[in-house]
Symmetry: C2
Subunit: 195 residues, 2 copies
């Protein structure tokens, strides 16, 4: 982008504040209710500061989804970990109203802004799903999952749990309940917890 | 409701046209973009005809979701059937852009209108999920699913498949692809197709 050449060097603090504000507004109002003007106002920067960096609302929201740094919204851990750690992390994540709202807004935007879903799944979720495949391989090696289990199995378990919480509507979903669901799904696959 | 007492008897043809129009607008524009005025116009009836029957946009959309009669949007078959029939039905359903859009709009509305999700899952999906439990019980009896399989297993498989298609974003999803996903999930559970 030519923005940095046309004016002052970009302030990385501004970028982070803008992306945080965009994510907040997406969660509160949905993609249709989020404007570049609204994001600039929320971030406390000039409208032009946002436009210099992201030309369209869609570009801005895609960047916000890709770089979402709020720890409460982080997908499955990107580093290695045990299956038990993944269960704990995903149960906590999927029970958070803010995360459920984010998922609902992203999926809800898929008719008018399908690129947002792609940005979220391919740029934010994909690296984390690849880490999950590594966790599954390790669980097979450790005898916690049956030999020959497809390393993509945790992706399926995650998709099932996301479908489960998103179809709950008004009801609150507790971490304990998501964990029971995750363990039921993993039970189908033949998961044997350690110890 | 007092509507019928205050004026002419309700015309069931009007009701059906109004609910069809409400569902169409929900799919096209989302809950936030659907107004009682817009629905009346689309259905070709007076605004008051809609208001007499449904006081709020939310009431109207809940009724539209409950009574959705478009065969292209029908959830899993409500009558008995084999697991193979369910696979074929769900694969066709989940690959339809109109159904994916409906699900995206319903889930997308869950932040601002959580009652819509409840109406859809409890009134439209629930009876169909109960029929799926019957299909699972029959499959166990026929030796296609392992003894002791939880009859709710098909609900989990369905939730997983819905999560899968909704997170696809821009990509088209074919019925063959959904079917492969369904068979992979059923494979985890130990499904043995007949024949």
């Amino acid at each position: 982008m030519a923005g940095a050449e046309r004016g002052r060097p970009r302030d990385p603090g501004n970028d982070a504040a803008i992306l945080d504000a965009a994510l907040d507004l997406l969660i509160e109002r949905g993609a249709g209710g989020t404007s570049i003007e609204g994001v600039a106002q929320r971030a406390g920067v000039a409208k032009l500061t946002v436009y210099r960096r992201w030309r369209t609302r869609e570009d801005l929201l895609m960047a916000a989804l890709e770089h979402a740094r709020d720890p409460d919204l982080q997908g499955p851990p990107s580093a290695g970990g045990s299956l038990e750690e993944v269960i704990g992390h995903v149960a906590a994540l999927l029970s958070r109203p803010r995360f459920r709202a984010l998922m609902a807004r992203v999926i809800g935007a898929s008719v008018d802004h399908p690129k947002l879903v792609t940005a979220y799944t391919e740029r934010h979720l994909r690296p984390r799903l690849e880490a999950l495949a590594e966790v599954a391989r390790q669980a097979v090696a450790d005898g916690q999952l049956p030999p020959g289990t497809d390393p993509g199995v945790l992706e399926d378990v995650l998709a099932g749990s996301i479908g489960f919480v998103l179809l709950r509507g008004e009801e609150e979903v507790t971490a304990a309940e998501v964990e029971r669901r995750l363990r039921a799904l993993l039970g189908y696959v033949g998961y044997e917890p350690p110890g």
